[in-house]
């Protein structure tokens, strides 16, 4: 158990089937990761295209391009696809590829479960969008149209697009629970000898806690949507006041899932970013243990603050104060993470390759997202932000840097390991700067729109909101275009480029950089020893 085996006899790889069957039957974590990531990027582009139609409609006051009922479907699917179709699969893809490489394991602990977990996703995505496209073709009333929050009793009125969405949410939930179980088992049992819990890479820590949150919250959402299905078709009254139920019950159930979901998306990236910072500052991670403790704090706090999404729904004074103060408490572990990230950068030897740029972009933009979250925690002023564009801008500053900038940082960082080629640095820099500018031009105006009183989820708006909406739309198209540069860059990198060494980045540390680039189909069949 003392020698790291990184080369393999050629015959070993001939076992698996080729063509389509290779992908359908594969239990190899690298194959599955590639499928997760490809799926995520396709979903990103679809949901992005949907919101560009929305932004185009909002370019000017009046209805120009879409009618309100179609508009509602677009914003709903945009939210659901981005969260469940893009953000979570992207993180799972990164984990699938990199966790075994980073902890010195030959594969994920449960390879068949891994395969199943992925292959539930494409049918779930089809279920979600099928009614939408059928509706476009004149069949049925279209897709789910209640906003991604699916508030009852509006969700009682929708057509069968809602039933499809409910089934889809069930499948997505099963998929992420399977992936979570796999991550937990892998991280706890498959680490290389000598890699104790306190030597584990932060990425493994982050994803472990994400997995724990997920198996806490996803069953709750599944129960919630099942109750909705029963209300819709089987005469129960969970969310119907006339039958003894309560529409606000749905909000509690939804946000018990919906708020931790933010940290589900954050923690893997919060675990990933220190690796990148460390690599491009050529300096060890500052405050490793403090970061892990902070993640614990975030994991715990994430499930006890949900009703700060519901201050305007009506709540006792005590409830408001509790959810306000508990929400403010999250600022502490987050501040520890920021402190450690910046202290890692401080007095390093800095270079700014593409992964580093995206990591820094994440820190800066997410910093603003977090700070505006502190403002939203104020239960008394919250009604002025809630369901207005201020809120929209806030959660895009929280989620976009995390899921998109964070995932991009990870993909660019490990792309040489996956493809064996260095990426086109110039294209990468273009991608970053265009995305950064596009993002801010899109969402800074939305803060101002919200403060001026523009509600969210409206297809048309009063004239006083016209100017900033126009700016925001221009920004959104720039932002959308930036990701085409990304797709081109990845394709280019897969096809060729400068040969990458095993340690593709000068300052990169960790087991994944001890195997050749590209990483062979099977790695660490004999586990390496960690001192």
């Amino acid at each position: 158990m003392s020698v790291a085996t990184t080369t393999h006899p050629g015959g070993h790889e001939a076992h698996h089937p080729s063509g389509l069957l290779r992908w359908i039957q594969t239990t190899n974590h690298k194959d599955i990761a590639v499928m997760y990531l490809t799926f995520a990027v396709i979903m990103l582009l679809i949901a992005g295209a949907m919101i560009l139609v929305v932004r185009a409609e909002l370019f000017q006051p009046g209805l120009q391009i879409v009618q309100p009922e179609f508009f509602n479907q677009l914003i709903t699917l945009h939210g659901l696809i981005m969260v469940f179709g893009f953000a979570m699969p992207a993180a799972t893809g990164l984990a699938n590829y990199m966790l075994p490489l980073m902890i010195g394991a030959p594969d994920m602990a449960l390879p068949r479960l891994n395969n199943w977990g992925f292959w539930i996703l494409p049918p779930a995505a089809v279920m979600l969008v099928l009614p939408f496209f059928l509706g476009l073709g004149g069949v049925g009333a279209g897709g789910i149209d209640t906003g991604w929050t699916i508030y009852a009793p509006l969700s009682m009125q929708s057509g069968w697009g809602m039933d499809f969405a409910i089934f889809s949410v069930h499948m997505l939930g099963v998929s992420s629970i399977l992936a979570s179980i796999n991550v937990i088992v892998t991280v706890l049992n498959m680490r290389a000898p000598g890699m104790t819990f306190w030597k584990m890479p932060l990425f493994a820590h982050g994803f472990l806690y994400t997995a724990i949150i997920l198996i806490t919250i996803m069953p709750v959402l599944a129960g919630g949507v099942t109750m909705l299905l029963l209300d819709r078709h089987f005469g129960t009254n969970f969310y119907n006041a006339a039958g003894g139920g309560d529409p606000v019950l749905w909000q509690h159930i939804f946000w018990f899932m919906g708020h931790p979901e933010v940290y589900v998306l954050l923690l893997p990236i919060a675990g990933l970013v220190p690796h990148i910072l460390s690599a491009f500052t050529r300096k060890p991670t500052y405050g490793y243990k403090a970061q892990v403790y902070s993640m614990w704090g975030i994991m715990f706090l994430s499930v006890i603050v949900w009703a700060h999404h519901m201050f305007t729904s009506g709540m006792s004074v005590g409830g408001q104060l509790y959810f306000m103060y508990s929400t403010m408490a999250i600022s502490l572990p987050l501040a520890v993470l920021f402190f450690c990230w910046i202290a890692t950068i401080w007095r390093g030897s800095l270079t700014f390759e593409t992964p580093m740029l995206f990591a820094i972009g994440f820190i800066v933009l997410f910093g603003w997202g977090g700070l505006t979250g502190l403002v939203l925690a104020d239960a008394a002023a919250d009604p002025q932000y809630h369901n207005a564009y201020f809120l929209v801008a806030h959660f895009h500053y929280a989620l976009y840097p995390t899921t998109v900038f964070g995932a991009m940082a990870g993909i660019y960082y490990w792309l040489p390991k996956w493809t064996g080629h260095m990426l086109d640095e110039r294209l990468g820099q273009w991608h970053f700067w265009v995305a950064l500018i596009g993002f801010n031009v899109t969402f800074i105006p939305q803060f101002l729109l919200g403060l001026a009183g523009m509600p969210r989820r409206i297809p048309d708006y009063p004239l006083m909101f016209a100017d900033w909406n126009m700016v925001s739309t221009v920004g959104a198209f720039v932002l959308g275009a930036s990701h085409l540069i990304f797709v081109w860059n990845v394709i280019k990198c897969v096809r060729g480029g400068k040969k990458a060494e095993a340690r593709a980045w000068e300052g990169a540390e960790g087991l994944e950089w001890t195997v050749p680039s590209p990483a062979p189909y099977h790695t660490f069949e004999t586990q390496p020893a960690v001192k």
Binding site: G135, G147, D246, Q384
Partner: protein
């Protein structure tokens, strides 16, 4: 070194926060006209000043590091990974102590007071108004005065479809605004007939959901007369963007006159419920009621929207027995956007609109439905 920044940041933030107490920053809400709006604006300004300062202070530190610690400048990486002496620990922990004070002192205390005042709905309330959200209009009721009316968007469809130039108050104008007396504390109770709506006037600093089957409340005490506008802010279906809130705040004298006028109108409507009208009179009245309440879904042509909202032309309900037709209008269709109109329209209104539907767009039943027929079916549960 590292810890000094926390203290500096906190100091600067507090200085800036007090400075903004007088000036109007770019992040301000619309001018506040109620005690709550003023208080929340104050808390908001404080929060914003602090977070903007914090953000740029930390960004400045990062940019300094990016500039100073570049490899291309030959900067060698340090190796520290944690504080190593008691003194360093103190410097590292100081910012977090500062953050705690910020959260639970600088922010927490004013926010605590604001929450208490926001929820102080019942003490000394001089007037009670009930707001009911409906797809897609607001109903206002003054229980003590016995006044009740609905408030619809009046922006013409042509403006929305870009066929006519948009007016000054595009999407923020209604037929019957809520009328409130200036300087009186008003307790507002919200509820809904169908889905969750949310009543919001930014200048009042209040937003409260209207939840079907439950009562929620808030209060306003508007200090300046004027017209204030807002919008529904909880997605409530297709016309969510088209149910504005307009409030006229007037002097006590004007308010009293307005109340008297409304009471007269209520009396007149009651008279109408006992009258028997001709088919043409009913149709003319019904056309107006249809235009304000029904066109959003069933369209002015009665054709509806294919697969979404049913057409009324030649429909079985319209051409079938009158009683069934009236019942659908009264009670709605459960779990569809078809609302129960019994609480929103009077017997005379429903009789008129049913007559109109049965005798328009090629429907020719010849029925002249009278208010008495509706009254008989009202309350009949299916």
């Amino acid at each position: 070194m590292r810890g000094v920044r926390g203290e500096l940041v906190l100091g600067a933030a507090l200085a800036l926060a007090s400075a903004t107490a007088t000036a109007k920053p770019f992040w301000a809400f619309p001018d506040p006209v109620t005690p709550i709006a003023r208080e929340t604006l104050h808390v908001h300004n404080l929060f914003m000043a602090v977070i903007v300062t914090l953000f740029f202070a930390v960004l400045a530190i990062m940019l300094y590091s990016f500039w100073k610690h570049r490899k291309s400048q030959g900067h060698q990486a340090a190796t520290f990974t944690q504080p190593n002496s008691r003194k360093q620990w103190a410097w590292v922990l100081a910012p977090f102590a500062g953050l705690l004070i910020l959260d639970y002192g600088v922010f927490g205390v004013p926010a605590y007071h604001a929450v208490l005042s926001y929820e102080d709905t019942q003490n000394n309330a001089e007037l009670v108004v009930k707001v009911t959200g409906s797809q897609w209009l607001w109903q206002y009721e003054y229980p003590k005065e016995g006044i009740k009316f609905a408030s619809h968007l009046t922006t013409p469809r042509d403006q929305i479809d870009n066929k006519a130039p948009k007016g000054e108050n595009y999407l923020l104008e209604v037929d019957n605004p809520l009328v409130l007396p200036v300087g009186k504390k008003v307790r507002v109770i919200t509820t809904s007939n169908d889905v969750i709506h949310s009543w919001w006037v930014p200048a009042f600093g209040v937003k409260r959901d209207a939840v079907p089957g439950f009562l929620r409340e808030f209060w306003v005490k508007v200090e300046q007369p004027g017209t204030y506008r807002g919008q529904c802010s909880e997605l409530c279906g297709k016309e969510h963007g088209f149910m504005p809130v307009v409030v006229n705040v007037v002097s006590q004298a004007e308010y009293t006159a307005w109340v008297t006028k409304q009471k007269d109108a209520v009396a007149k409507d009651k008279e109408l419920s006992n009258a028997v009208l001709s088919l043409d009179d009913l149709k003319a009245r019904g056309e107006k009621i249809y235009a304000t309440n029904c066109t959003a879904c069933h369209q002015a042509t009665g054709m509806g929207v294919p697969n979404v909202f049913p057409s009324l032309v030649g429909s079985k309900v319209i051409t079938g027995p009158v009683e069934e037709h009236i019942k659908v209008v009264l009670n709605g269709r459960p779990n569809t956007p078809m609302a129960a109109w019994s609480k929103q329209l009077s017997d005379a209104d429903i009789a008129a609109v049913v007559t109109y539907e049965r005798n328009s767009w090629g429907n020719k039943t010849g029925d002249a439905v009278q208010a008495a027929a509706v009254g008989k079916l009202r309350g009949d549960s299916r």
